[in-house]
Symmetry: C2
Subunit: 746 residues, 2 copies
């Protein structure tokens, strides 16, 4: 037993002895509290957003009550009826319980009671779910994960109607349903329960929540610290290919809270799964705060959960959509229910940041608890302020030492760079070190493909990950980063990739007009070191900020390098000659290349290769400093896609063969606009006359950009010393440049 | 001279004699009137939408005045600077003139005066435009069309500052600029001026507008009636392939108003060009109304112009985007400036329909004249009502006898069918008889491709029509209609196509739950007759309305038929086997087929072939009644497209070979929804268990649909008698059906 754990246990025991009031177990106490209910009832009819949220929930629940309760025998994958119905049941039951507390109308308690008793009757003899795909099959659902979702919600429902039930009913439910249910997802499924993974977080929270309602200390301990001796061998993989157990693996809710979150609140799997995991993290931490505040679970690891909400909100584009780093379904946004929870809790328990209120306004709903009430009251009182997203660097790794994600923003999210130099991100990670995506407001300019999955759409592989997720979405060539010899980073090997991470070289957003993030990767291709520096620069001679991208590779062998840019839009012009084949063929036969059709092939233009496109009414030009032997490949996703699982999106790819040490420099300009309504085409051409690599040594890389009016801009990067106070001096073409810090720009 | 013309001339002469006051030529009198200005000034600061519109215009004009006047030597195509600048000049000058009247600040008059004098100095010696593509090159622009735009606006500008100028300045402008300008686009370019075409409408309006300001009766007559003897030979084509002169061709503004508009206000070229032509039609008609009301130009042809505004607003989807029938650029909508003009004028001069006010509210701007003021005042007074778009059948042709466009709408534009059975539509027409497109609110479900052109984007072929417009967009296979033996309708011959039109069989929207439009086409493929019937049916057993599509072909030869459906979205499921090739090849080598890649090929499923897709968060399933020998082709647009001018959109194509008389029946269901935010997938499967052709003779075609709960729906079409009062009786499978009118449904 660790010292920390012993201390917590002691606190618990002392609590039991000296603070029995906190265990008198009034109900509700988990999320909604007795005091909270009183305050809510006192404010009914006075707080527009709360009242509207209540009315919406009431309509939804009333409609379900009218339909009657259905607890079908489990049969389907996600996307099928039984899955959908059981999922809706726990969502509605939780809400009905809340309505019972707030409206004090017995019909809601009766509905929850009857549903729970129906489950009790069914669960006793329920075998594991008939669908066999999961490494940890549930009973109500095809995986324990969804069973855990059920218990997290049903615990809340139970808490709200606890006092409405007879002691006999409670005993029946606890003995035949809740305790066996909690044991099934934990003791009987340690491979599911004892991991460092969002699956386990849900499992831990579920066991802990029901433990708190039932005042069952054993379950609470099991939630916080996992199963002491799970008997699992080291190794093993789940059905998504994620490792189940590594040597010395920690376990339980607190470990899951410590491990995947960096001190900045970044969750290593990426924002899509952070969004998913935030709910059990926050809801159980909140339940602990309400029932065992002295354990300070909500404040654990220096308030990392509340920081996580801030990180998550910053991992969105201007429309609130999460950046689809690693496995992430596009379109998921801070409008999702778990972010309503997150924003409300972060506001109420995290210092009442008035900027969070404007997100709540956009969400247009609040939680029906004391935090939601506080948000609604503050909005009513006009306290909301715009949520302003700044540039931010989020470290990855338990101690913030495993790379990270740098987000550079110019203006009011006019342009946003998302630069990924993180760790692998567990089983949902993609093989895309030093990749990036680029946004103009809420529109993708250069996309991260995201995942290949139609979540919950049964016809598409049961709503699960499709095989193209592994063959395309996770591949290196699917991302805006460097591929070497058509291989994936780390050979596409998860076990190898999980041991490494990129290294931040420096991050500097102190000058709003020249923001830079720079990182290195030495392990993705053994023998090769990649150093990518991305600068978002607003120069007075340019209409908008431009993105300067310097990818410097040093290798001990001659390689073929591919650097793709997955632009979103339609080709407007090129300055290079290319041929378009009549018949399309795949670009390769593995590592993602088999999914790319070659739509055009050409030679780079002398010195600068330019490529312009129009997307979402905006013009963009990519200007690459190229060598005469460079090739340009115009690609289209969709080859070897027999089920039409992939989008037919386009790419521009620069190929440089037979090179060891080389530097790719690309500039992405946003310029002008086009409206199909006014049919005005403004500023549709690049502002760059020429770009050149003035100087490129181990020490320094200097890029010169000359705009069409002849103004010169020079960016010099110190390649080996990023110290802020370091003085530099370099003479290039007879001119001596002196500066302090990792870069020079003028 | 026609009797009508003689009468109008007589009226004019009488007007000259007996109503000299109407020619006392006060200024402004063209669009803005003296009385209008007084009323506007009296209402300043009191009418929010007018005040806001004024402020916006003022900001724009002030910014231009600050930049100074530039009238560069003409050089560029549309998309280039000189084109853009001259276009902006006339737009700003017109607005500056209006500001001068409303704000009575001389700086605006000075700006217009100086600009006009600069043009006067330049125009005298200006050669024709250096770009040689147009059949009628302008001087300021590459085509007389744009020069005419200039004069239409500058006439208004001149009118507003007329009294500010000295008599000497006016004489200078009139003698050296306006009169030569008007003569150049008319007398010197009769091939441009004397057509029945939107080009001539602009030319006629331009000459008429300046004629009215200068009180030049010769120009006014030339505007209304064209050039008496243009000396042009019959025939000739413009640079878009349109015929310049046919035998017995009428000419002039009134003829242009009569010919292309049907009595319902449908403009034969289609809504994109109607939108473009509406401005000169309305603005000159309004100028005539203000200065020569006794000629009743605005009311000409039974108020067809005002009906045209109504038709145009009805030719939009739920977002206000025009249906891209024939050549039409997608995204053009009723938010465009010419529709602000149209809506304001239609409101003020067309019976003050309060529904038009809600369109004006969406446009969020009004004209700065008496009509705009009236709209803004009515909005201020709360008179606006929602503009409700109903189903509508718009006839085509001068007398409404040349086919038409039927628009069936279900619900509040929840589903909209656009069925085209019109005439060719002049030079902008596509070869797509009996084609259709289908919308769910503002989203395309089954698309009409539109045009291949990047209007005003210089890099894309000077912003002009691209060659793929002819090779793809106009082709039959590019549309959701029947292709026979891979040929285009009318062999793709404009001269042939222009002689024919489809025939309405019947249109019936009297039952909101069963709306039907049916038409025939006998000339597109000589020897073959196509009869297509489309019904939008809301059955109680279906969640949403479904589209029933019956295409019956009778041919005197064995043919291969292709029936494509250009669905928008991603494949969700199919019930048929298909193969996907690794290498993509074009489907053919001409008639549009050369632009389609074959992505998949399969055999129809027995009896019913089903194909489901997800687009814009909604599920759709196409169920086709198929024969065992039918083939399914899954296509992708984009082959043989070296400049990337085409979008990579998908198609589902049914191919039936070696058939003469045959009937295609397809049902398109909208069902369910998917949200990437809640990740809820609702009702993602078809509700159809089976569909079958119960009966199919020359007299009757009967389709049976059985839903998954086993309910039977039967639709029977009388193929040869569409009389509403006709009694029918037919016995099918032992059951006798009796009904009255062209169809039976139950």
């Amino acid at each position: 037993m660790s010292i920390q754990k012993a201390f917590l246990l002691l606190t618990t025991v002392l609590g039991l002895i000296f603070a029995p009031h906190s265990f008198a177990q009034e109900h509700p106490s988990l999320i909604l509290t007795k005091a909270g209910v009183e305050k809510i009832r006192a404010n009914l009819g006075k707080t527009p957003l709360f009242d509207a949220s209540l009315e919406k929930v009431k309509q939804q629940v009333d409609a379900e009550i009218a339909l009657g309760i259905d607890t079908p025998i489990p049969k389907d994958f996600s996307g099928g009826y039984t899955h959908y119905r059981h999922k809706l049941n726990f969502v509605i039951a939780q809400k009905a319980g809340v309505l019972y507390q707030i409206l004090q109308d017995d019909k809601y308690a009766i509905y929850v009671r009857d549903m729970l008793l129906q489950y009790e009757a069914m669960y006793k003899n329920l075998p594991v779910h008939p669908q066999e795909r999961s490494y940890a099959r549930g009973k109500l659902f095809w995986q324990c994960l969804n069973d855990s979702n059920w218990l997290v919600y049903m615990s809340q429902a139970y808490d709200t109607i606890y006092n409405f039930l007879t002691a006999e009913q409670r005993q029946k439910l606890e003995n035949n349903l809740f305790r066996p249910f909690a044991n099934f997802i934990s003791l009987e499924n340690p491979a599911f329960y004892n991991r460092i993974h969002n699956h386990s977080t849900w499992g831990n929270a579920a066991v802990g929540m029901i433990g708190l309602v039932m005042n069952d200390e054993e379950l609470i301990q099991r939630a916080l610290y996992g199963i002491e001796d799970d008997g699992l061998p080291v190794g093993g993989v789940d059905n998504d290919g994620g490792t189940i157990k590594v040597k010395g693996q920690k376990k339980g809710f607190l470990a899951n809270l410590e491990d995947p979150f960096s001190p900045d609140g970044y969750y290593t799997e990426g924002p899509y799964y952070q969004r998913y995991a935030m709910y059990p993290f926050l809801i159980f931490a909140l339940a602990m705060e309400n029932t065992r505040p002295e354990l300070k679970v909500l404040q654990h690891k220096n308030n990392v959960l509340l920081k996580g909400v801030n990180a998550l909100l910053n991992l969105t584009d201007a429309d609130g959509n999460f950046f689809p780093l690693n496995d992430g379904q596009k379109g998921m946004s801070y409008y999702t229910a778990s972010l309503v929870t997150a924003v409300n809790i972060a506001y109420y328990y995290g210092g009442k940041n008035p900027q969070l209120l404007s997100i709540a306004q956009k969400q247009n709903q609040v939680l029906l608890d004391q935090s939601g009430l506080a948000v609604a009251i503050a909005i009513r009182e006009g306290k909301a302020q715009p949520y302003v997203k700044q540039s931010i660097n989020l470290s990855d790794g338990i101690n913030g030492q495993q790379g990270g994600v740098g987000i550079l923003r110019y203006g009011n999210e006019d342009l946003t760079l998302v630069f990924k130099y993180a760790a692998q991100g567990l089983s949902h990670g993609h093989y895309d070190k030093l990749s990036f995506s680029y946004y103009q407001k809420g529109n993708e300019v250069l996309q991260d493909y995201g995942l290949v999955r139609f979540v919950n759409i049964g016809q598409k592989g049961g709503g699960n990950y499709l095989k193209e997720n592994a063959t395309w979405a996770k591949s290196t060539i699917a991302h805006n980063t460097l591929s070497q010899n058509q291989q994936m980073h780390f050979g596409g090997k998860y076990a190898v990739a999980s041991q490494h991470h990129s290294e931040l070289y420096f991050y500097d957003d102190s000058n709003a007009d020249v923001q830079v993030v720079s990182a290195t990767e030495s392990n993705a291709y053994p023998g090769s070191k990649m150093h990518r520096t991305m600068a978002l620069i607003k120069d007075e001679h340019f209409e908008q900020a431009y993105l300067l991208d310097i990818m410097k590779v040093d290798s001990n062998s001659k390689n073929e390098y591919d650097l793709p840019f997955y632009y979103m839009g339609q080709v407007i012009s090129t300055n290079f000659e290319y041929q378009t084949p009549t018949n399309l063929q795949p670009l390769g036969d593995k590592n993602g290349y088999q999914h790319l059709y070659l739509e055009g092939k050409g030679k780079a233009a002398a010195n600068n290769t330019q490529f312009s496109w129009l997307g979402n009414g905006k013009y963009f030009t990519l200007t690459a400093i190229t060598q005469p032997s460079d090739q340009i490949l115009l690609t289209r996703i969709g080859a070897n896609d027999p089920e039409f699982n992939l989008r037919r999106d386009a790419g521009f790819m620069l190929r440089r063969s037979n090179s060891d040490n080389t530097t790719f420099v690309s500039i992405v300009e946003a310029h002008g606009s086009y409206s199909p309504v006014s049919e005005l085409s403004l500023n549709s051409s690049s502002n760059i006359k020429s770009a050149s690599l003035l100087y490129d040594t181990d020490q320094y890389t200097a890029v010169e950009v000359i705009d069409i009016k002849g103004n010169q801009q020079v960016f010099i990067l110190s390649n080996q010393n990023a110290d802020k106070s370091k003085q530099h001096k370099v003479t290039i073409g007879g001119k001596t440049y002196r500066w302090q810090g990792p870069y020079y720009y003028q």
